[in-house]
Amino acid sequence: MPYESVDIRARLGYMPEHDCLPTAITASEFLTHMVQVSGIPPSQARTRAADILRHVGLEEERYCPIGQYSTGMKQRVKLAQSLAHDPVIVLLDEPTAGLDPSGREDMLRLIRRTGHEFGISIILSSHLMGDVESNCDRIIVLEGGHVTEQGAVSQFTQETETVLIDVDGNREELITALAARGVTAVSDGVSLAVELDSEEQYDAIRDALVETNARLRRMSPRRHQLTDIFRNEGP
């Protein structure tokens, strides 16, 4: 296969962040046209357009001019046009921009389904780390046009050897009791953060809790969050 960019673009989907829809024509009409521009003959284009609009959740609305749509519906049309010609790879630029929380959840579910169930590779660009964390398999961090980090999402969010402890009262006593057992507890907001060197320190924490009679509310390993990637790179 000759790797000409025109041929490649026939199997590429792109959903831009900015507005990219005409206002005067209906979503159905627009999609049919766009599918044809992707190289699919008119007879099939109409069916594809109808199918994909149903897939993204636009039913009767697709016969209204796009100018009358809400932001959420426009985002769906934008997603639809990027998927309609059955691309091999899809680039989504901030697909949840301008959506309310439930609309965002719908959009992400749709993207997840498209990626996992229909086997279309999706590259999602987003500044919402939560969206990335819950929906992506792999992450590529770009900075100044260079790849600075890449890998599986789990690699970025793996557990560290820090335990967070929340107690109800007797907080100071607990810190002292822990210190007596050679465990350093650092106050981290409402929680106490304990850096663990060995497994035995779990026992020390338990003993200290029993001794001080502190009511335990929460004890959990701290997970690195994706936002830490950016925090760590700060000045």
Partner: protein, 168 residues
């Protein structure tokens, strides 16, 4: 228009394994879209008003000339195709000035251009297809006026066959 229809997602997505005609199909699609946009086809009634008005304005002189000729019946120096052009050229100019920018600028204004350029279509293809659409419409406009006028002149001539022979 804010009603959500989330339950419909589960109908699924179908892969496409039919024919893909690539660049040629893309060119044709842009051409026909330009044609339809200009004439207001597939759009609301409002979009059809201006093209129809201009079309009417280009047609009217042809009909009027043909009527004058048939009514005066060779009494005056006959107006014909050159006279028609003099009158209608201003309409053609206005028509051109309105539709030509609309064929290219609307896509940039809406941002649709960025969707065209990620499809199997080069910038040249896009501009050429739009230009051809423009050209086709202008040609249609010019020739339909001429044909109406010719038909009118033939019908009002005392000897239609002779008229055709003389003016071909």
């Amino acid at each position: 228009m804010t009603q959500r229809t989330g339950e419909l997602f589960d109908l699924g997505y179908q892969h496409y394994d039919g024919p893909r005609e690539g660049r040629m199909r893309a060119r044709k699609a842009v051409f026909f879209d330009g044609f339809r946009t200009t004439l207001g086809l597939g759009r609301g009634a409002g979009a059809k008003v201006l093209p129809m008005l201009l079309f009417g304005a280009a047609m009217a002189p042809a009909i009027i000339i043909a009527l004058i000729v048939s009514l005066t019946n060779d009494l005056i120096d006959l107006p014909g195709h050159p006279e028609y052009y003099q009158v209608v050229s201003i309409v053609l100019l206005i028509f051109t000035a309105i539709i030509a920018p609309e064929l290219l600028c609307a896509d940039r204004r809406n941002g649709v251009i960025s969707l065209y350029l990620v499809r199997p279509l080069s910038i040249t293809d896009y501009v050429a297809a739009r230009w051809l659409a423009f050209f086709a419409i202008t040609l249609l406009l010019v020739y339909s006026g001429q044909i109406v006028l010719l038909a009118g002149l033939i019908l009002s001539a005392s000897d239609p066959v002779d008229y055709i022979r003389d003016n071909w």
